[in-house]
Amino acid sequence: MSELIKKAAALLESKSVQVVIGYGKGTGNRTRTIFATQVTECENLIFDSRCVQNLAVYLTKLEIKKLGKPAIVAPVPVLRSILQLAVENQITESDLVILGITSESELIDFESFAAIETFLTTHKIEIEEKYTKTIDAIKAMPVAERFAYWVKELESCFKCYACRGACPLCYCTRCTVDDNQPQWISVASHPLGNLEWHIMRAMHLAGRCTDCEACYNACPMGIPIHLLTKSMLQDVADNFGSYGPSLDKQNTLSSFKPDDKESFIR
């Protein structure tokens, strides 16, 4: 760990960056995000298996941007988000310093986004079997039962938008759910509004989601909304081949192949 601290301190010292975004000790057994702007604050940086929050979310936040150029502690899920943000023109290479870190706490330098992509080819998104099983089980339900299952699950949603806030890819200045001309989705948290919100959220992440599960981890009600995005990841793979961010590949939904296959259009 001392290596991460040393490196972060050196970056601040040399004024290469103005802030280091990383994990620190929180209350109890929890971790929290720290934004170190002073060399001394780097002492608080930690990294272990509890550090699952997706820090990439801060890269597009105005308040953080104001602090100056950041260095970001980036385990694999964060690297994926960084790459996707790069694909979507939200960050450029000179905007940040990436403190790549493996699950064994080994530091890796990334000189470019392309280097991240190369690294990620050996760290592909894989949907764990427990999830594929759950998804299969849901899909195996009769349609009415499946609908009832989700209506029930989404019943507890009170539209706190923590899922949106935690997602590194929900960086819009104005979210369409807050739009009232026209009012696409009703603001109140009733079953229809909740359903529509979660459909929209999932659709907006279609072909973009990097499966970091930040949305699910942030949900105070534990609604399995990550199953929706995971199911869509499977759909991307099934219909269009591979998934996962790539600099020279267009986003799934803003590109096409003339011979894309489907079986439901008459």
């Binding site: 499946r146 609908f147 079953p191 229809l192 529509e196 459909i199 219909n239 003339p258 894309d260």
Partner: protein, 148 residues
């Protein structure tokens, strides 16, 4: 009890299906009154949010139709739309929204007969499925709240 008359909304592109439906008219081919068309410039313009809105507003079924692949007036709007539909359909299916209630089709400006057939078969499918009460129940909360 009167027979259930499905409410079906059709989202069609101006260049192929709208023109095809015009040809159905010019050819005096009859079809059910249940389907009403909204004209879009291109299937590429058809936002999934509008399909969602339709169910929320009480549609029992939806038709989405445009130019055949390679025939898009705007080159590739229908190709983009097709990808979007593939993803959207998968998501709806996962959520238990009955995907049989949305009929996607390619109807060219020359396919007046096909349009009549799409309309009639969709009306029949929705008649068999019955009113979309599951969704209405969900949507109904809104009205209840408003009435209280």
């Amino acid at each position: 009890m009167t027979e259930f008359e499905p409410k079906i909304i059709a989202f069609v592109c101006n260049w192929c299906t709208y023109a095809g439906a015009d040809l159905t008219g010019t050819s005096r081919i009859k079809y059910a009154q249940n389907v009403k068309i909204i004209r879009f410039p291109c299937t590429g313009r058809i936002d999934f949010m509008l399909l969602l809105k339709s169910f929320g507003e009480g549609a029992d079924g939806i038709i989405v139709s445009g130019c055949h692949p390679n025939d898009c007036h705007y080159t590739s709007g229908n190709f983009h739309a097709r990808r979007r539909w593939i993803m959207f359909r998968g998501l709806l299916d996962m959520l238990g929204i009955d995907v049989r209630r949305i009929q996607y089709s390619w109807v060219s400006a020359a396919e007046g007969f096909k349009w009549a057939d799409i309309v009639n078969s969709t009306v029949n499918t929705i008649r068999e499925l019955g009113p979309y009460t599951e969704y209405e129940k969900v949507a109904g909360y809104l009205e209840k709240e408003a009435n209280q």
